[in-house]
């Protein structure tokens, strides 16, 4: 095990897939660091509704400020960055991802691998499921002299994607996004290349879904919240649509299949979980500043996340969506429209209730983060509804994404313990 200071997602387990993922990330950041010399073009963009295949088809390298912010938190840098941003006048009330990113930028823009990140050639503002994204790139735009491609993805307020919504997104891709990418890279849009990428995406997505659904086994071979952070890494970030991603997910799937065969529980920072005592569905993003401490609070109780909504922020694949090479832009539009944070509250409640049932969960837990209103506003309503519909008890804890001031370990541990003891007591023949 590595220490917290040097922890990055790939350090947690040393399975072959993890070694591969680590190498993929390292190569990507090497390319980014070298971009000013090699002349490779870069684009800053977001995880939900990311257009990775389209970017790949233009050979433009993505930088994901959200991932940088969470990595800054895991490296223990976010407190300092947030404080830099707040000194510049950013309110204590707003999203700490933004402040961590701005602070990092003002502190030399050193990325998660310790290498300097290149300035963007394009800001691709895929405005999906999060109002703050728009402000974030308005802020970055003031720092960089580069074009912004804005893609407005409408919200699935009524629980469905209409033809009008889809057309709106596809037309924007054609008329707003692609021309900016063409301009920035000096290349023409190549739909055949895009189709090839999308075909590889679908292949990797099949394997990812298989891995996430493996948690239906008892004991679950994976942790679908903390552990899944690592599993979704490649597909949510810069690698979807690459041969690397296909290979990664094939390998991961084989590893998980082997765990199932051996009846093993999930890998945790402290080794394999021996006894699965509680099966939990989790809603909301993790806390990144105390990620391992937080995870350990679950491990100590024998609690395994069998499903989570956070593992769907970069795409809800388990309800059937796959990128489709035969309808490239339409399929990108459907992808953007379908991300978890773009779903209405009733749809989120449906999904959570389904997870509780399909994954035979003992209960569900909401980690409500101060930063993210897209997730958090309405979570208390979600709590009540999912409890009523699933008949399983819900738990509620509060923390933040990357601001350590909002992670009170004693407080959270107290609630988690109370919650797990309640689950235990409620079991038929529950312990005293």
């Amino acid at each position: 095990m590595t220490t917290r200071q040097t922890a990055t997602p790939v350090d947690v387990q040393k399975d072959a897939s993890q070694v591969r993922q680590k190498a993929m990330i390292a190569r990507h950041f090497d390319r980014l660091a070298a971009a000013p010399d090699t002349g490779e073009k870069t684009v800053y963009t977001f995880v939900p509704g990311n257009l990775t295949e389209l970017l790949l088809s233009f050979d433009i390298l993505p930088v994901l400020p959200e991932i940088n912010a969470l990595q800054s938190a895991m490296r223990g840098k976010s407190a300092e960055y947030i404080s830099v941003a707040e000194k510049l006048g950013h309110s204590e009330d707003v999203c700490t991802y933004v402040k961590s990113d701005i602070g990092m930028l003002k502190s030399g823009n050193i990325g998660p691998t310790g290498q300097r990140l290149p300035n963007p050639d394009v800001l691709l503002l895929s405005y999906t499921g999060c109002f703050t994204f728009m402000k974030w790139f308005e802020l970055l735009r003031e720092e960089y002299d580069c074009p912004v491609a804005m893609l407005h993805v409408p919200y699935q307020a009524d629980g469905r994607v209409t033809e009008s919504m889809r057309r709106y997104v596809v037309d924007q891709l054609r008329q707003k996004v692609i021309p900016v990418l063409e301009q920035a890279t000096g290349r023409a849009y190549d739909e055949d290349r895009l189709r090839e990428c999308l075909a590889r995406s679908a292949e990797a997505e099949d394997d990812l879904v298989w891995v996430l659904q493996s948690a239906r086994h008892t004991p679950s071979p994976i942790d679908a919240y903390f552990g899944a952070v690592y599993y979704v890494g490649p597909i949510f970030s810069s690698f979807r649509g690459t041969p690397d991603a296909v290979a990664y997910y094939r390998e991961l799937r084989a590893e998980i299949a082997e765990r199932i065969r051996l009846g093993q529980g999930p890998v945790t920072p402290d080794g394999d979980l021996e006894t699965e005592r509680f099966r939990i569905v989790v809603e909301g993003p993790p806390n990144w500043t105390s990620f391992r401490q937080f995870w350990k609070m679950f491990v100590d109780e024998g609690a395994v996340a069998v499903a989570s909504t956070y593992a769907k922020v970069g795409g809800v694949y388990d309800t059937g969506f796959r990128h489709d090479p035969s309808h490239p832009l339409e399929s990108l539009a459907d992808y953007c429209l379908g991300c978890y944070t773009n779903l209405s509250l009733p749809s989120r409640i449906d999904l959570l209730t389904r997870y509780v049932k399909e994954y035979s969960a003992d209960g569900f837990l909401i980690n409500s983060v101060k930063s993210c209103n897209s997730f958090s506003a309405g979570q208390l309503h979600i709590l009540r509804e999912v409890e009523a519909r699933s008949g399983r008890p819900g738990g509620f804890i509060e923390s933040d994404l990357v601001d350590p001031r909002y992670f009170s370990a004693a407080n959270i541990k107290n609630r988690l313990e109370s919650y797990f003891q309640m689950l235990e007591q409620k079991r038929p023949g529950g312990a005293a």
């Binding site: 208390l380 709590l383 009540r384 409890e387 008890p393 819900g394 509620f396 509060e398 909002y406 009170s408 004693a410 407080n411 541990k413 107290n414 609630r415 313990e417 109370s418 003891q421 309640m422 007591q425 409620k426 529950g430 005293a432």
Partner: protein, 431 residues
């Protein structure tokens, strides 16, 4: 005799409840949690065991056929005398500690030693009055009781002799810690009880016999469970720790078996708990990260107004038109209070508004946890506050209709009682 104990380590007080192996409550004990947690547990348990022995004495007397009213009078006398003895022994240790710290002072102002002697002598002379029949004591905690007398006497002494008040007060602050940590100060039940007995006139002859039997009785602990805010620090193995949510649920069920919803407003947090007909928790909510709307908030207000915590409720109850207060933020409590007072608003109206604001926060926690079902049990320190209770009853009736609201005089022991019941279950003596 075998017993189990539940200890609730709260942010302001530590409580212990002792159960006999048939599940009856034998004794309750409480102490401030200012010193370290181990000591707080010991003191609370010690108090609960003293309390248990008194109830055993009561049982002996009942069996001997002494009439109830006589029994109560005899016991009350015995207990007052017992407390006086205990106070004296604590005072002796205090005097010793004061002199020890005095000796260690690098510079000894002239007359300081004499002043300390004078104060201690005055305090010793006051003991009988302090525990006389009908005497009112501000607190039953030695720290509070002795502290307020010591400081008052020190002030007078400082005025009269010119000895520095700060030096005198500083000595007390150091000495009191050791008194609280000292088993010698607490003394043995048997010694205090016999000394007490010797000092009481007109003793019924059955009392010394009962005291004899009970004082020598061996009390054997067969199970313990800890809970509360500080439960991780309790000197218990992990298997003997339960969350305060579970303990409060079970404790409230034990006190009022019809309980379905429990509200606990403690010093650091507020809890809304739903329980089933077995006292098993079905859902719960706790307040936000901050302590807004908790008992601690009232503590700040009391400090700000230079009042005792227990005085707030009665003053608020005098209000005829409570002011509207929208923030229960502890950080702004002082500023808000000063502004309102400067605007000429009445103290009782402001206090009534504050109590209502706290209860409003609790109402939203209750709603989050699944609403309020009949019967409703209100526990925690704030349940002793009449203004809070009135505000709560009004809002419950408005929002949930008529329901039974249970408040026990012993509500502060709810968590400890639940813990003791869990302890009893784990012993397997009684399911």
């Amino acid at each position: 005799m075998r017993y189990t104990v539940g200890i609730d380590l709260g942010s302001t007080t530590t409580k212990a409840v002792v159960l006999g192996d048939d599940g009856t409550i034998l004794g309750r004990g409480i102490t401030n949690s200012r010193s370290n947690y181990d000591v707080a547990c010991q003191v609370a348990l010690g108090e609960a065991l003293i309390n248990a022995r008194f109830s055993l004495i009561d049982g002996e007397l009942a069996r001997s056929g002494l009439a109830a009213d006589l029994r109560a009078r005899q016991l009350a006398r015995l207990e007052r005398a017992f407390r006086a003895e205990q106070y004296r022994s604590q005072l002796r240790v205090l005097a010793k500690e004061l002199r020890r710290f005095l000796a260690r002072l690098l510079t000894k102002p002239k007359g300081l030693g004499k002043s300390v002697d004078q104060i201690v002598a005055s305090m010793e002379a006051e003991v009988d009055d302090l525990y006389a029949e009908g005497a009112r004591r501000k607190s039953d905690f030695f720290r509070d009781l002795a502290g307020s007398r010591y400081l008052a006497l020190a002030e007078a002494e400082a005025r009269a002799t010119g000895v520095g008040f700060d030096t005198l007060a500083g000595l007390f602050d150091k000495a009191i810690l050791d008194v609280e940590n000292s088993p010698e100060a607490a003394g043995r039940f048997e010694d205090h009880a016999r000394a007490a007995l010797a000092g009481i006139p007109e003793v019924d002859e059955r009392l010394p016999a009962a005291v004899d039997r009970v004082a020598t009785l061996q009390l054997e602990q067969i199970g313990s469970v800890g809970t509360g805010y500080g439960r991780q620090r309790l000197p218990f193995p992990e298997g003997q720790i339960r969350s305060e949510i579970l303990c409060h649920g079970l404790g409230a069920h034990a006190m009022f078996p019809g309980t379905r919803t429990v509200l606990d407003i403690g010093g650091q947090d507020t809890k809304a708990i739903q329980v089933d007909d077995q006292g098993i928790v079905t859902s719960f909510q706790m307040n936000d990260r901050c302590a807004a709307g908790c008992g601690r908030y009232l503590g700040y207000i009391a400090d700000e107004m230079s009042l005792g915590l227990h005085e707030l409720g009665p003053i608020a109850s005098l209000s005829t038109s409570p002011v509207r207060i929208n923030s229960t933020c502890t950080v702004f409590a002082g500023a808000e209070l000063r502004e309102r007072l400067s605007l000429g608003e009445k103290r009782e109206d402001i206090l009534a508004g504050l109590h209502r604001a706290i209860i409003l926060r609790a109402m939203s926690l209750l709603a989050r946890s699944g609403g309020v079902k009949d019967e409703f049990t209100f526990t925690g320190g704030v349940a002793k506050n009449p203004a809070a209770v009135t505000a709560l009853q009004g809002l419950l009736a408005e929002n949930y209709g008529e329901l039974t609201v249970n408040i026990s005089d012993d509500s502060i022991y709810t968590g400890a009682l639940g813990a003791a019941l869990f302890a009893l279950r784990t012993t397997g003596v009684r399911s």
